[in-house]
């Protein structure tokens, strides 16, 4: 029984298809059941009520006669009545001085016969059919004896039985029909909704060019799809404009800034020749390089996001493990300074069609982030899987709402602002992973953060 309740719980929580189908089937069954009840009442119910009424009036008539007529007169009229009645099987039992006498069609009074109006079924031999038939009858005490009224209603019982089996079949058919049509209709609706969902998911993952499918039906769903598509187009356009502006700024400022860099560098050269201090100029150079680096990274990001096809023509088959080992070699002394341990777990040889330098940067960025934010003595683990890799640490982790935001350009978690960085690292990682048709997901490691990459 346990599994039934379990199934019911999960099924009732499951998709709207199941709920719609259930509702539809329930309604269909209810309608069919009501129809059957009405039909029954109008046919068989009416017939049996008629029969009961006739029987009642017959009994009332005999009762009255037995009171009006003397004993013998009554028996006489009863004999005529019982032999002439085709429908009813009438019998009268009365007592003489010694024994009880029977007048009418029955040769014996059945046992356990109940008093009218309650009917009892019993079997008799009927000459008319030359067979044993089940009939219904009851006993009614009269002034001087006992009246037994019975009626051959086997046809009514058969009719009832047939009606019930026909009803059961009808209900089963209705159930089947309800489930099938309900399921088909609901699936159609769900398919439409799913296409909306899939588009939303694509947009969420940064694919702003995704659009909802519009059918030719021109129904409410199509109207909704058209509205959503228009909205997405406007959004995409706005995003492109914004990205274009930032890129244009970055691009236009890069040239004068690099000339500024050249001038500062020459000045440092001159000062060095004259043995003058250059510290101030060098600090300026460091700051300038930070700006230039941010601009380059932003431009590079846009290129990675836009020039997917141009870049991927230069892809080669790369052994992921080699890239990861190289990245660990690079990050290892940084981790060592913080007494962190870095462990590589691998059982798979994963080959990827991609760019080694880009993949290396992604892996190194993630490892460097883990080392930067996981804290002293943290344990960083990198695990190769069949389709990618997982980098986990046991540091403080990040909250769910920030898991989405960290991939945005120039976004930095409030508490990490004192750590050096530009807020472009994870955006770049995501762009690189997407360039390789991969997915990146941040999950809780309880405690810590776990970054899942799947290609």
């Amino acid at each position: 029984m346990a599994w039934v309740t379990e199934w019911w719980k999960t099924a009732s929580k499951a998709s709207s298809v199941w709920r719609l189908t259930r509702l539809y089937t329930g309604l269909l069954l209810a309608v069919v059941a009501v129809l059957l009840v009405v039909l029954y009442q109008l046919s068989i119910g009416q017939m049996s009520r008629q029969q009961v009424l006739q029987m009642d009036s017959l009994i009332a008539q005999q009762k009255q006669l037995s009171e009006q007529l003397s004993g013998n007169e009554f028996i006489e009229q009863f004999q005529i009545q019982s032999s002439s009645s085709r429908q009813y099987i009438l019998t009268y039992q009365y007592k003489t001085s010694e024994q009880s006498q029977l007048v009418g069609r029955l040769s014996v009074i059945p046992k356990n016969l109940s008093f009218c109006p309650k009917l009892t079924r019993f079997a008799i031999w009927l000459d008319r059919y030359d067979e044993i038939r089940l009939i219904s009858g009851c006993a009614q005490p009269l002034a001087d004896g006992l009246l037994i009224v019975a009626i051959d209603d086997e046809y009514l019982y058969e009719l009832k039985a047939q009606f019930i089996s026909a009803s059961v079949i009808a209900l089963l058919l209705a159930l089947l029909l309800g489930l099938i049509t309900g399921f088909i209709f609901s699936m159609k609706v769900l398919k439409r909704i799913n296409s909306f969902n899939q588009t939303a998911l694509k947009v969420e993952s940064g694919q702003l060019s995704a659009r909802v499918e519009v059918s030719r039906n021109n129904d409410e769903y199509d109207h909704m799809a058209l509205h959503i598509n228009t909205m997405l187009s406007q959004l995409e356009h706005s995003f492109e404009t914004i990205a274009g502006i930032t890129d244009a700024i970055a691009h236009d400022l890069r040239t004068p800034l690099s000339h500024l860099r050249q001038q500062i560098e020459s000045e440092i050269h001159n000062k060095l020749k004259q043995n003058l201090p250059t510290e101030q100029l060098e600090n300026m150079l460091v700051k300038l390089d930070e700006i230039l680096f941010t601009f380059s990274a932003m431009l590079e990001l846009t290129r990675l996001q836009q020039q997917k096809e141009q870049t991927s023509q230069y892809f080669k088959m790369i052994e992921l493990q080699q890239v990861i080992t190289d990245a660990i070699d690079l990050v290892e002394p940084l981790a060592e300074e913080k007494q962190q341990t870095v462990q590589l777990i691998h059982s798979e040889t994963t080959m990827i069609n991609g760019d080694a330098t880009l993949l290396f940067r992604a892996v190194y960025n993630l490892l460097e982030n883990a080392s930067k934010y996981a804290g002293e003595k943290a344990h960083i683990e990198i695990r190769l899987t069949e389709t990618g890799f997982i980098i986990s640490d046991n540091g403080p982790g990040i909250s769910d709402e920030e898991k989405e935001k960290v991939f945005q350009r120039l976004y930095r978690i409030e508490k990490s602002r004192q750590v050096s960085g530009f807020g472009l690292g994870l955006t770049l990682v995501k762009a690189i992973i997407q360039l390789h048709n991969g997915q990146i997901q941040l999950l809780d490691n309880n405690p810590g953060l776990s970054v899942h990459i799947k290609f």
Binding site: T255, H259, Q262, S266, S296, L330, P333, T357
Partner: protein, 227 residues
């Protein structure tokens, strides 16, 4: 030592000319691809600095024509286009190195020196041991000795030390060291190479022995025999 600079931006061209002349190089200039290609084919240069985007004839076209004509002059491509495909294209067409604008002058000078030296050293006989002062490296057994003490190094540390020893006396920038040891072309932009150098230094200059690795401010590192 003659260097040909093919660069259309006047500010950059003049800046490069001045900086290279200060280093003692003779410099020829071209401000478009056509003139540049003509000079490169006719003249005898130790190195060509080639801008990627040029009027009249594109940088890559200059490079491929030059190589097809059999000229093997080392070419350092300067480009504002920092993308995987651009870099691969540049190196595939026969470029020897690729530097992204804006670049540090020190980085450019270091790379020019490495390229010119590499060209000269290709005919040199490769020795199986390297030695700087009392630091010896056996390239076959992968063993390193400082005096009589063996130094145990991790594979990447070995590569790093080897590169420094092979270019002893030359200033090597952080990104150059990174590219040489890790073989990925990008600038890690962090102090991670400094951390690696500090660790290597601890292993090589133990017990107050004479320092061999010198930090050159604003430029990088240098392995020196006598200080």
């Amino acid at each position: 030592m003659r260097i040909l600079v093919i660069e259309d931006n006047q500010t950059t061209r003049e800046y490069l000319q001045k900086a290279l002349q200060e280093q003692g190089y003779e410099v020829d200039l071209a401000d478009n691809g056509q003139d540049g290609l003509f000079l490169a084919l006719e003249g005898d240069y130790q190195l060509i600095l080639l801008d990627r985007m040029l009027p009249k004839l594109d940088g890559l076209a200059v490079l491929s024509t030059l190589r097809n004509a059999g000229k093997q002059t080392p070419v350092l491509i300067l480009s504002a286009l920092d993308s995987v495909s651009e870099r691969v294209k540049g190196l595939r067409e026969g470029g020897d190195d690729y530097l992204i604008k804006p670049f540090a002058l020190s980085e450019l000078l270091i790379r020019i020196e490495i390229l010119i030296q590499r060209k000269g050293s290709t005919n040199k006989k490769q020795s199986s041991t390297l030695q700087v002062a009392d630091l010896k490296m056996d390239l076959l057994s992968h063993k390193v000795f400082r005096g009589l003490t063996e130094i145990s190094l991790q594979p990447k540390e070995f590569k790093l030390l080897r590169y420094l020893m092979e270019h002893s006396g030359q200033v090597l920038s952080r990104s150059l060291l990174f590219e040489a040891v890790w073989d990925y072309q990008f600038d890690p932009q962090t102090n991670v190479i400094d951390v690696h150098m500090a660790r290597l230094r601890k292993k090589v200059e133990f017990d107050g022995l004479t320092p061999l690795l010198e930090t050159v401010r604003g430029m990088g590192y240098r392995m020196v025999e006598n200080r």
